[in-house]
């Protein structure tokens, strides 16, 4: 039985699943990384994802182009980010609580809009599998990496892009400065609040695209609370990845790999109790967290409001 798991076609299948499953985690966790590097913890990711998932779906459901759906999601994500910024940065409310509030707001509003505007669970034609010419012909690897829908590729493109913005641009320098020592950044003329507004809007946009990647990419339906807490796992992945984009990529892939593995183990009837299989991703998470507990890169001002001294 176990040798069935180690056939080439099964391994390719598992890795293919893994790459696809990581998509929403990548978008959402990279977005959250921006916010946290600037010192703002946003627990509302899941709510923003739901809003993004709904609006992207609704745009496509109404007959618009898929990319219009993505743009609509981005716009909604930016607005949700602005809302979070207004509450956490301008009003300086507790970041954790206001994040939960934002989550519940997104959950409730997306459900309400779904009920009023659509009413029943419907399907749309979402992003199709897009095999990249030549590259997808590479045996094994081609199927694993280059046979996905456009949003999957976009998610992986966001990794180097986010890394570049955070580590190699002036904006990135400001983000890190504000997250590490807002007082010092302020004295150097960096607008702490401005930077935090910007990162929350970027984070909101990415979280909304994460939602869209579900509703018009991976599943092509919208259902109330369809993210099922995925946004909270994305927040955990930022810690898991020690606030680095590569770490976030690693965490997303690892979590998705174990999820893919458990689905394949069950489908191939490999004698592991399904309860154990289902637990695997979480056991893995705890084990890895235990070993990566050192929080060297944690932004020093994370979850702290900043108010300029008199």
């Amino acid at each position: 039985m176990l040798d069935e798991l180690f056939t080439i076609s099964t391994l390719v299948g598992i890795l293919h699943s893994c790459v696809r499953l990581a998509t929403p985690y990548l978008f959402a966790a990279l977005g959250e990384t921006f916010g946290q590097r600037s010192g703002v913890l946003n627990l509302g990711v899941d709510g923003i994802m739901l809003m993004g998932a709904f609006f992207a779906f609704y745009a496509v459901f109404e007959g618009h182009n898929l990319w219009v759906g993505v743009l609509v999601a981005i716009a909604i994500g930016v607005l949700m980010g602005l809302l979070k910024a207004f509450v956490s940065v301008t009003m300086q409310s507790l970041q954790g609580i206001s994040g939960i509030g934002l989550y519940l707001f997104g959950l409730g509003l997306s459900s309400l809009l779904f009920k009023t505007l659509i009413g029943s669970v419907e399907g749309v034609s979402g992003f199709r599998q897009l095999a990249i010419p030549l590259l997808s012909d590479i045996p094994g690897l081609g199927h694993i990496l280059f046979n996905h829908n456009a949003l999957v590729y976009l998610a992986y493109l966001m990794v180097p892009l986010s890394w570049f913005v955070i580590n190699r641009t002036t904006l990135g320098l400001k983000i890190r400065a504000v997250g590490h020592n807002p007082e010092a950044a302020d004295t150097l003329g960096v607008s702490v609040n401005g930077v935090r507004y910007a990162t929350l809007m970027i984070g909101g946009a990415l979280a909304a695209v994460a939602g869209a990647s579900l509703s018009i990419g991976l599943q092509n339906v919208f259902q109330e609370n369809m993210t099922n807490g995925l946004g909270f796992i994305a927040v955990a992945l930022v810690y898991f990845g020690s606030w680095r984009t590569v770490g976030v990529l690693g965490g997303s892939l690892l979590f998705s790999l174990v999820n893919a593995l458990q689905l394949w183990v069950q489908a191939l009837d490999i004698p592991v109790p399904s309860e154990v299989a289902v637990m695997m991703p979480y056991i893995m998470t705890i084990v890895v967290l235990a070993f990566t507990a050192r929080q060297i890169q944690k932004p020093a001002a994370l979850a702290r409001s900043y108010e300029r001294g008199e």
Binding site: S93, S98, G101, L102, Q219
Partner: protein, 342 residues
């Protein structure tokens, strides 16, 4: 500063108040002189539009309401998304204290809450399922129980799956091991009856609502060679989306799922609770507040198998399904797996 915090917290609390309970009973309408409408409240784990367990009951309630003559005769109040038992428990108690005639707790996880509240509100009638326990042994007389003999439709869907498959590989996507066992056992039994050598791959996502994982499970089954899929709980919307995209046949259960996969959904086993609800209402109106345990079967029209009229289905498949249903009704077939291990 402090004031700022409290203002922003208040704003969010106000926003929060937006999510919550819905009341379908129409506001401000005065009730006719011939008597108050019968009032039903239902607490359900997912939503009225989950195209699965919760929707099956909600659709049946609406059907009964229409049958009885609309909102003047029957009002329906509902609480959705009550997956957490503590939330559901509070809602059940709320509805009971608001004087509803019948409070339905639509989930096997609500049992303890129902019995606890039922003991405090002996004039109110309660119903819960999946269960056959009316609490009679606890001395409780105001609780109905209900459930679906899902293995019957599972068997018929299994027969259909075996006739449709060309690869002889069939994929099943379950929620939490144990919950969908009846349906899946019946399904496997049905497949085996027609094609003993066909392979049925079963995977559980470990959740009722993880549509992402259910979608991926569908991908996995398809890659493992399956050309017919089935599954249960509200998570399946993700899987049907994938079946639709890949042109793989889907066999539905609980509610009508054709809207999601107009070209791939072949059959639906539909839970029709209307007779159960109507019977509970008439019993309650005659002063009998509980004590009956209902079962949906093909024989009592609680289960229905509906074919998708929009796609072409071979006559022999339809015929085999009808024969299977007749055999179940007559008792010629017992749609339970042979090896009872639990």
């Amino acid at each position: 500063m402090l004031r700022r915090i409290s203002i922003s917290t208040l704003i969010f609390l106000l926003l929060l108040a937006g999510c919550g309970r819905s009341d379908d009973s129409g506001d401000g309408e005065t009730v006719g002189a011939e008597g108050d409408p019968f009032r039903i409240a239902i607490v359900m784990p997912s939503s009225t539009t989950d195209i699965a367990w919760s929707q099956s009951m909600f659709d049946s309630l609406v059907a009964v309401q229409t049958e009885m003559g609309g909102e003047d005769a029957l009002t329906i109040a509902y609480s959705e998304g009550m997956f957490r038992v503590t939330d559901a428990s509070a809602a059940i108690r709320d509805y009971a204290s608001e004087g509803f005639d019948l409070v339905i707790a639509h989930g096997a996880q609500y049992g303890n809450s129902v019995f606890e509240v039922a003991a405090d509100f002996t004039e109110t009638s309660f119903a819960w399922g999946t269960s056959s326990d009316t609490g009679a042994d606890k001395g409780i007389e105001n609780v109905f129980a209900y459930g679906a003999v899902a293995n019957e439709g599972g068997y018929v869907n299994g027969v259909v799956a075996a006739m449709l498959t060309q690869t002889d590989v069939i994929g099943v996507i379950g929620p939490v091991a144990g919950d969908a066992k009846l349906y899946i056992d019946g399904f496997v039994r049905g497949v085996t009856e027609i094609k003993p050598d066909a392979q049925v791959n079963i995977s559980y996502t470990g959740s009722f609502s993880d549509t992402t994982l259910a979608a991926e499970a569908a991908h996995v089954h398809i890659q493992a060679g399956a050309d017919v899929l089935t599954g249960s709980a509200q998570q399946v919307v993700g899987a049907i989306g994938v079946a639709n995209e890949n042109g793989v046949a889907w066999l539905g259960t609980q509610s009508d799922q054709i809207s999601l996969g107009p070209d791939v959904v072949v059959t639906n086993q539909i839970y029709n609770w209307a007779n159960v609800v109507a019977d509970m209402i008439s019993k309650i109106e005659n002063g009998e507040l509980g004590g009956t345990a209902y079962k949906l079967t093909f024989a009592n029209d609680g289960l229905r198998l509906e074919f998708n009229e929009n796609i072409e289905i071979a006559d022999e498949v339809k015929e085999a399904a009808r024969t299977a249903i007749e055999d179940i009704k007559s008792g010629a077939v017992d749609p339970v797996l042979w090896e009872e291990d639990e």
